[in-house]
């Protein structure tokens, strides 16, 4: 699903060049449930942006679903994002003047699906996430957990291959966080690849694979079998 070889990315500001990703290699198969961890400055946000076709890279190869992502113009990038990737953000990023249903329908709006049809589909997704009764509420009238569920519905509506979640539980209490993780797990069970960027160990430990970034390369990959020992280790830390 995702194949990255020798990925380099630097940010240039004036005369300073900040080398963030330094030859990163990464393989994520279809249907995986992965979390990316790392201390701040390790390059996890940068990696997420590149994975999400929100940013380009300097050197290396990035194949998404067998297609090389390189040199796309903004329109092509937008189409790729719309078709392949569902985003979930820490601060939900719902559009404040659109109700839950319209927010969920937004990706279809960009696909030029007509209003009636896209709202119908949006209702289906809201129903699946147990928010049917909240369809006509504005984001300001919902709780954090509800908002994030709306955001998940929005990420799912375009039938993406991958869900990219940037600190999806960062703004939620631990109980709601677990609920959201449960939903993401269900999403994963349907065969969608889910990638979560987080700095919370207990959230990461709910995924099936943890990728720890360190100084712009993969520091450690902990897979399913090792998770128990990982849990023990982080308790000691």
């Amino acid at each position: 699903m995702i194949s990255i070889q020798n990925l380099h990315k630097s940010y240039v500001t004036g005369n300073n060049s900040l080398h963030v990703l330094k030859g990163l290699n990464l393989e994520i198969a279809e249907g995986e449930f992965v979390s990316i961890m790392g201390s701040s400055g390790s390059g996890k946000s940068t990696l997420l942006n590149i994975l999400g076709v929100l940013d380009d890279y300097d050197k290396g190869d990035y194949y998404l679903s067998g297609k090389k992502i390189w040199g796309l113009n903004e329109t092509q990038a937008a189409i790729t994002r719309n078709a392949m990737i569902g985003f979930i953000f820490q601060s939900f990023n719902l559009i404040s003047f659109k109700n839950a249903m319209e927010n969920v329908a937004l990706p279809l709006y960009y696909q030029k699906v007509n209003r009636k049809k896209r709202n119908l589909i949006a209702m289906e997704y809201l129903d699946r996430l147990g928010l049917k009764d909240w369809a006509h509420h504005l984001p300001s009238e919902m709780s954090g957990g509800q908002k994030q569920r709306v955001a998940i519905a929005r990420a799912l509506i375009s039938n993406p291959k991958i869900i990219l979640a940037d600190e999806p539980t960062g703004a939620l209490d631990s109980q709601t966080s677990l609920e959201v993780m449960e939903i993401l797990k269900e999403v994963n069970d349907q065969g969608i690849t889910v990638i979560i960027v987080t700095h919370e160990h207990d959230i990461a430990s709910l995924t099936r694979k943890i990728i720890r970034l360190k100084d712009g390369i993969i520091g450690e990959v902990i897979t399913n079998g090792d998770l128990q020992s990982y849990r023990d280790r982080i308790k000691q830390e």
Binding site: S45, L54, E74, A78, I79, F97, K98, E102, Y110, R115
Partner: protein, 422 residues
């Protein structure tokens, strides 16, 4: 384009900060309002003046004699001289470009005291001697009777045509002036016509307060010999008046032994040239109107552009999210542009409507004023459909222009940066 969500978004963006949107819109409103009102006012001025002179023959020129300013052929400078009746035939015979030639002599003036008597009434009027052709140069409506004709000239008949005011003042409403007699400067003349001038060009006093005698009658009655005070000449179709003016003047100067270089001895006015100058003035006023109007409009548009930049800045995150969700650059540009065009068009259209309404109001007020014969030089302030359509096109273009910079700015927003911004 017509998706409800799109307009919902436009409405939201503008309604979020109503006062700001209104103030911004006011800039455009005022620009277009000014443009319309000024264009209307300058049209009103133009209409007022043009209506006053429109019927006057533009292919005409006038000349009159003055003291010579150069010595010539043994004559000293400062010589008094006059054109004479023989000049008329000579000019007609030798300048084929001349269409009409009409001499005019001036008798007693209205400011010289009462000169006209009818029964118990007396009045002071300008008395002029004219040719039949004069009415073709400075048209008048014949209210009753007729204008001076060729037989009047040939037979030196003692008849007169009177202006509308003269008729009102010298005759009772019940009286029929035609056939009646007026005693003018001691001589009786039979009234044969009453006229109302159609132009506001007056030569030696206003026409409605004038009495017109046949030219030859006047020459003989008041001992003018074959003297000609004033000469009106028109050119044939396709010949510039200036050509005729030059030729006629040269011939007359030659006949009266006046230096060809003497510009003072035979003065003249070229109506064509005057009209051109007037037209030039109107064009200048028109250009000024558009410069000022468009300048004001530009200021408004720049205001819109500015506010759109602020809106884009405020909505950076939202735009970032939309782009992450797959909104193409085109979608974003269209959105910003539509917002800008919507704002300018609504504001501008309001300005357009109110401007036209104001002009209509002024027009009504002017039309309802009683005609005094002394009308102001301001008639029918209006803008034609071309101006209105042009204004609308300008508005849409202005909206696009105002939206282009903010839209470009919105495109430069990287989704990552927008999302990172907390």
């Amino acid at each position: 384009m017509f998706d409800l969500d799109r307009w919902n978004e436009i409405w939201y963006a503008l309604a979020k900060n109503k006062v700001r949107s209104l103030l911004t819109a006011f800039g455009v409103f005022w620009g277009i309002f000014m443009l319309i009102v000024m264009a209307g006012a300058s049209n009103g001025l133009k209409n007022g003046i043009v209506e006053g002179v429109a019927k006057f023959a533009t292919n005409s020129c006038f000349m009159w004699s003055q003291q010579t300013s150069e010595p010539y052929k043994g004559f000293k400078r400062g010589r008094q001289w006059n054109m004479d009746s023989d000049d008329l035939a000579y000019v007609l015979a030798n300048v084929p470009e001349v269409e009409y030639i009409s001499p005019k002599n001036f008798g007693s003036r209205m400011n010289g005291g009462p000169n006209t008597i009818h029964g118990l009434k007396t009045g002071a009027y300008n008395v002029k001697g004219d040719y039949p052709e004069y009415i073709k140069i400075d048209p008048s409506t014949i209210l009753q009777g007729r204008w001076i004709n060729d037989m009047d000239i040939r037979d030196k008949r003692k008849v007169c045509v009177i202006g509308e005011k003269v008729c009102e003042q010298m005759f009772d409403a019940k009286e029929n002036p035609l056939g009646d007699y007026l005693k003018i400067s001691g001589v009786y003349y039979q009234v044969v016509g009453v006229i109302r001038p159609e132009t506001r060009i007056n030569i030696n006093g206003r026409a409605e307060e004038s009495i017109f005698l046949p030219f030859t009658t006047m020459q003989q009655t008041y001992n003018m010999g074959n003297m000609v005070h004033f000469l009106a000449v028109t050119s044939k179709k396709g010949v510039p008046v200036s050509v005729v003016e030059e030729k006629v003047k040269n011939i007359i100067k030659l006949r009266h032994s006046i230096a060809p270089t003497d510009v003072q001895a035979l003065s003249s006015v070229n109506i064509e040239k005057e009209f051109q100058q007037m037209n030039g003035l109107f064009i200048a006023i028109g250009i000024l109107t558009w410069i000022v109007g468009i300048g004001t409009l530009m200021a408004g548009v720049i205001g819109v552009s500015n506010i759109m930049l602020v809106i884009v800045k405020e909505r950076t995150k939202e735009i970032g999210v939309q782009r992450a969700l797959g909104a193409s650059p085109r979608t974003i540009i269209t959105q910003i542009m539509l917002e800008s065009v919507a704002l300018t068009t609504i504001a501008g259209y309001t300005g357009l409507s109110l401007g036209v309404a104001l002009l209509e109001l002024v027009n009504k007020v002017i039309e309802n004023q009683p005609k005094t014969g002394n009308e102001v030089f301001f008639q029918h302030p209006e803008v034609n459909i071309t101006v209105a359509v042009a204004a609308l096109i300008i508005l849409v273009l202005a909206g696009l222009f105002a939206g282009s910079i903010p839209a470009k700015r919105a495109l430069m927003i990287k989704p990552i940066e927008a999302l990172r911004e907390e």
